[in-house]
């Protein structure tokens, strides 16, 4: 194993062998239960339509509060404070003196954060299925009655609970895997920006506070700015899968624009973080 690999292994141990993940498990349970309750209530009110556990995940991934506030903030709190904490505790010194370069050290922070974004979505997916099944939904991969006939299409995207309607022959498992991958990209991009922030400002609680602050500001602005252009600049709206569907919003965002938006944020933050780290005192 090369030096970068060993650095990554050390960071993986620091990141994942931690009781902080108990907070993630708790959040996964809370958001899944919340989404399941909303689906159950709306399916009942829509004529007792049958729903599946996959609907829970689809609803969860389109809820700005659950995704933007609870999940994203918890993710950043867990996965993006490592560089700052290591500098606060001087663990960075004993690692960096062994690192081949600061770029290698930066890579050892970035790659585990990206893995954490995947783990976070896998956890949310698993919790959605588990809570959905516990609440009495089936695990059928065929679109449910509720998914095919859901209400609310064309409504206010900011408060929209629901998701892009599937076609009757769709496989909901792969559809939701796709949604999860999109959220992995979004979380990774925000996480990278948060990580880059701690290069300049090594304060371990700053990333979570910054993400929470930006999300709150974004939600407040979205109440006042109802123009379609706002969804182009709003990170928390762009994070939602349903924002790309004409069945959900009147002015959907092209998916390519979101992939580009998150991709540029991810890549730009990675470059800025690496370059800044070369110059700062650790």
């Amino acid at each position: 194993m090369g030096r970068t690999g060993a650095l990554i292994r050390t960071e993986l141990a620091r990141l994942f062998v931690s009781r902080r993940w108990l907070a993630a498990v708790l959040v996964w349970g809370v958001v899944a239960k919340s989404a399941a309750d909303e689906i159950a209530g709306d399916a009942f009110n829509s004529g007792r339509l049958a729903w599946t556990a996959y609907d829970v995940h689809a609803a969860l991934m389109n809820n700005t509060f659950l995704v933007g506030f609870l999940m994203l903030t918890t993710f950043v709190l867990i996965a993006c404070e490592g560089l700052a904490r290591d500098r606060e505790t001087r663990f960075a010194h004993v690692v960096l003196v062994r690192a081949g370069s600061r770029r290698q050290w930066w890579a050892s922070k970035v790659i585990p954060m990206l893995l954490a974004a995947i783990v976070f979505q896998v956890g949310a997916f698993g919790a959605s299925l588990a809570v959905g099944a516990y609440e009495g939904a089936t695990l059928s991969r065929a679109p449910s009655e509720f998914a095919l006939g859901q209400e609310g299409a064309g409504g206010d995207a900011a408060s929209q609970l629901f998701f892009t309607p599937p076609a009757p022959g769709d496989d909901m498992l792969w559809r939701e895997v796709g949604t999860s991958l999109y959220l992995v990209l979004g979380f990774a991009a925000v996480g990278m920006a948060a990580l880059a922030l701690t290069v300049r400002y090594p304060i371990s609680w700053l990333p979570a506070l910054a993400v929470l602050g930006v999300t709150m500001l974004d939600r407040i602005l979205s109440w006042f700015i109802r123009a379609p252009w706002y969804s182009w600049v709003s990170p928390s709206l762009r994070m939602l899968e349903g924002m790309h569907s004409p069945a959900v919003v009147d002015d959907p965002l092209p998916l390519w624009s979101s992939l580009l938006w998150w991709g540029l944020l991810l890549l730009g933050s990675a470059i800025v973080g690496a370059r800044t780290l070369e110059r700062v005192d650790v």
């Binding site: 194993m1 505790t89 004993v94 960096l96 003196v97």
Partner: protein, 313 residues
């Protein structure tokens, strides 16, 4: 830390003839504040160099520059062949012990060391066990590091610094949190690192007696500047003795003797003398002159006086 275990690792060799640390005119400025100003120093293999000064004197800033964590605002030089004005490279062959160390708190000491040693690939699992024994920790202990006392953390921090057999070891306040026995063991181990393993050691401490006992040279830093270099083991420092006599008449006899010089008084019947010849000869001369000797020992307060002259001025 009393157990001696031969380190069988291949030394991560740095050319012995070259100074491990050779820096000139190093300064560091944060905004309008100068925290380090025009410090020059060298450290060679087998040498223990101390950095002593009050809090905020610039010791830790200097260590951060030497270890590549911070770039100097002024000055130049090399540490183990690495240019200190660059932060792009790593510092090879250096072991670094930081003050109030933290580790991966949920893992055991041994697991922490295995992960850290794995980065350079210069040591393996058996090295982790050996070095834990060497610093007085139990390698079979499975408790997480978060349960460790400050003293145990200091020992673990020392273990990670020396375990890969580096050419240069930098120890920032290594005796913090150690009990008296731990301090003595630390002192012996530092000397052993230099004398037996041939490492260069740079350390900071507030315990002047310990620094004086273990260091070959001590750099007194005050207000960001290296004010003075004190060598506890040079001929001048070693020629100073403390003599305690039985009666005041003995003091007159001592003052009249040749071959030694009274340089100060430490009490009614205690004087500091400078011995011009060998100590055994001086003791024989004192006895021959009829001086009632209650006690005579080397004067270890030279560093303390130098410190007070520098910092207290």
């Amino acid at each position: 830390m009393s157990e001696t275990i031969q380190n069988t690792q291949t030394p991560t060799a740095f050319p012995v003839a070259a100074p491990l640390v050779d820096v000139r005119g190093v300064g560091k400025v944060y905004g309008p504040k100068t925290v380090l100003d025009d410090v020059s120093m060298t450290v060679r293999s087998g040498e223990v160099v101390g950095l002593v000064g009050p809090n905020g004197a610039g010791k830790t800033t200097l260590i951060r520059i030497l270890s590549g964590m911070s770039r100097p605002s002024r000055g130049e030089g090399m540490v183990l062949g690495r240019d200190i004005t660059s932060t792009t490279g790593h510092v090879p062959f250096m072991g670094l012990m930081v003050e109030r160390p933290m580790f991966i708190e949920t893992l055991s000491a041994r697991r922490n060391l295995e992960l850290l040693f794995g980065i350079r690939g210069a040591a393996d699992g058996s090295t982790a066990r050996d070095v834990l024994r060497r610093v007085g920790l139990d390698p079979s202990e499975r408790k997480a590091v978060r349960t460790y006392s400050l003293g145990m953390r200091q020992r673990l921090s020392l273990a990670q610094a020396i375990g890969e057999n580096p050419s240069l070891v930098v120890l920032d306040e290594p005796t913090n949190g150690l009990d008296p026995q731990g301090i003595i063991e630390m002192r012996d181990l530092v000397r052993e690192l230099a004398d037996r393993d041939g490492m260069g050691v740079l350390l900071t401490s507030h315990l002047l007696a310990e620094v004086g006992a273990v260091c070959d040279r001590v750099i007194l830093i005050h207000k960001g500047r290296a004010q003075r270099v004190f060598s506890p083991n040079d001929a001048d420092a070693r020629s100073l003795m403390v003599l305690e006599v039985a009666a005041s008449a003995d003091l007159d006899r001592v003052a009249a003797m040749g071959g030694l010089e009274v340089v100060g008084s430490d009490g009614p019947l205690r004087v500091r003398i400078r011995v011009r010849e060998s100590v055994p000869d001086a003791v024989r001369a004192l006895v021959h002159a009829g001086v009632g000797i209650e006690a005579i020992h080397r004067d270890d307060s030279g560093l303390e006086r130098a410190y007070m002259e520098t910092v207290g001025a």
